[in-house]
């Protein structure tokens, strides 16, 4: 069940909505490249599992990474849909 839905543009917006990113991962699942930029360091990794009692369960594997260019990013793998997203405000 996807957790991110395409909704029509509304005047009310959520803050820190996840944004789809292209991630290439190592075999252990940690990110190797984010939007074609090399990951220099994985600072932290954690999981968020929530709403497992609903029709739209959430299961995310978050990674706090530093890219080769020095930028900082937080990306997660949505394990329900198998897609990667980046998110601010984490």
């Amino acid at each position: 069940m996807p957790t991110i839905k395409a909704v029509p543009a509304s005047p009310v917006r959520r803050i820190n909505e996840p944004v789809s990113v292209r991630v290439e991962a190592h075999v252990d699942g940690s990110p190797r490249r984010v939007n074609r930029a090399e990951v220099a360091l994985v600072r932290e990794e954690w999981r968020v599992v929530d709403r497992w009692w609903t029709e739209e369960p959430v299961s995310r594997r978050y990674f706090d990474v530093v890219l080769a260019g020095g930028e900082h990013a937080v990306v997660y793998l949505d394990e329900e849909v198998g897609r990667w997203f980046s998110q601010r405000g984490v």
Binding site: A6, P11, R14, I15, N16, S20, R22, D50, V58, G89
Partner: protein, 394 residues
């Protein structure tokens, strides 16, 4: 219906008004001083010789050695466009100008006046004036109207009904989409060359591959939103000009001239004591062409010292000496003055200052740009569930 009036290559046409002979020869708008060396709009003869707008200057000259470069004249273009917009407004259209050469307006209010949609569009074409090769498109959505105007021939009014919008847009090239050139190239590399091909893709996949710009383009390819057109507030007709007997490039003289223009403009009785909110500084360059900068003031003011401080640094951007300097008051404030304060504002007064600040931001960036953060579930483990952005247009 939303109508869109388009004049292709408007800046070049405006620059060539003084030299109409060049309109029939291969000519192109030269790059602005300091900008990337790409040619702007081109004449029909240049296009026939293989020169395309946006081509590198060297490539364009290699393609057509007889190509004549025309210096951009933004002040003349701005003035000519303002005249056209005013003629449209005089004909009863509430115009939303999208920049020189392109304007939107609603036809609903004037259809009965002119006896239907098509006569109203014909009236708009007539108001634009002969010699500009204006064309107009009408549809129930903005982008479809723009696309129709781009497809229409000179002097033609093309109407696209709502149910035929997708069908009409489908065979048109993706170059009509207002998007970054790199993104457009990326689309074409993926084999997406027509709007219909883009519209047929799943929205989520487009957003994932091309980001928010791609998603917006996808939405436009499907017709875009039905957002209403809001007519602009007509600009104030208040300006002062100083002609120099010989070209002036000296900073001190320019600053003194600006001071003189400011004093003259502020002394004009038409101002009726109102402060200036938006001003423009324009100059005619010695070698031909012109230069223009606009400035929106954070606080509307009629204080010559503050205006001078805000405007003088713009003179440093002048690319060449000038023979004429012009100062225009584009927007005047509604109030006639501010009461000075002896004590720091608080309570209602502070809130009034804050709402005035927000009103200015909205005026500069459009409706929906000022929002309040409303916390809905600050405890949530999902960051996107914690707060909402709610627009404040009050």
């Amino acid at each position: 219906m939303i109508a869109c009036l388009v004049i292709p290559g408007f800046e070049l046409r405006a620059a060539l008004r003084e030299r109409p002979r060049l309109q029939l020869e291969p000519a192109a708008l030269a790059p602005e001083p300091g900008a990337e060396a790409l040619v702007g709009s081109v004449t029909g003869a240049a296009e026939a010789a293989g020169v395309q707008p946006g081509m590198r200057l060297g490539e364009a000259l290699a393609m057509c050695p007889s190509l004549q470069l025309v210096d951009p004249d933004p002040a003349a273009a701005e003035q000519a466009w303002e005249e056209i917009v005013r003629r449209l407004e005089d004909a009863g259209f509430a115009v939303d100008s999208a920049g020189p050469g392109s304007a939107y307006f609603e036809t609903r209010g004037v259809e009965r006046l002119y006896g239907g949609l098509e006569p109203a569009l014909k009236r708009a074409l007539k108001a634009a004036g002969a010699g500009w090769d204006a064309r107009v498109g009408a549809a129930s959505r903005r982008f479809a109207a723009l696309a129709a105007a781009n497809v229409a021939r000179s002097g033609q009014a093309l109407v696209v009904s709502d149910e035929r919008t997708r069908e009409f847009l489908a065979p048109l090239p993706v170059s009509l989409l207002p998007m970054d050139a790199r993104r457009r190239e990326e689309l074409e590399e993926l084999g997406v060359k027509r709007l219909g091909e883009l519209a047929g893709l799943p929205g989520g996949a487009v957003a994932e591959r091309l980001g928010p710009d791609g998603r917006r383009a996808w939405s436009l390819a499907r017709g875009g939103s039905k957002r209403r057109v809001r007519g602009r507030r007509p600009a104030a007709e208040l300006f002062e000009t100083l002609e120099f007997p010989e070209a002036v490039g000296n900073e001190l003289t320019l600053r003194r001239s600006l001071g003189v223009l400011l004093d003259r403009l502020l002394a004009r009785p038409e101002r009726s004591g109102r402060a200036l909110r938006k001003v423009a500084l324009a100059g005619r360059l010695v070698g031909g062409g012109s230069w223009r900068r606009t400035l929106t003031l954070r606080d509307a003011t009629a204080d010559p010292a503050r205006l001078r401080t805000a405007l003088a640094p713009k003179l440093n951007d002048l690319p060449a000496p000038i023979v004429m300097l012009r100062l225009e008051a584009l927007v005047l404030a509604e109030s006639v003055g501010n009461q000075l304060e002896l004590v720091r504002p608080e309570g209602d007064e502070l809130r009034a200052h804050l709402s005035e600040g927000l009103r200015q931001v909205r005026a500069g960036t459009g409706s929906g740009s000022v929002c309040t953060v409303v916390e809905v579930a600050p405890w949530s483990r999902l960051p996107e569930q914690r707060a909402l952005l709610v627009p404040r247009d009050d």
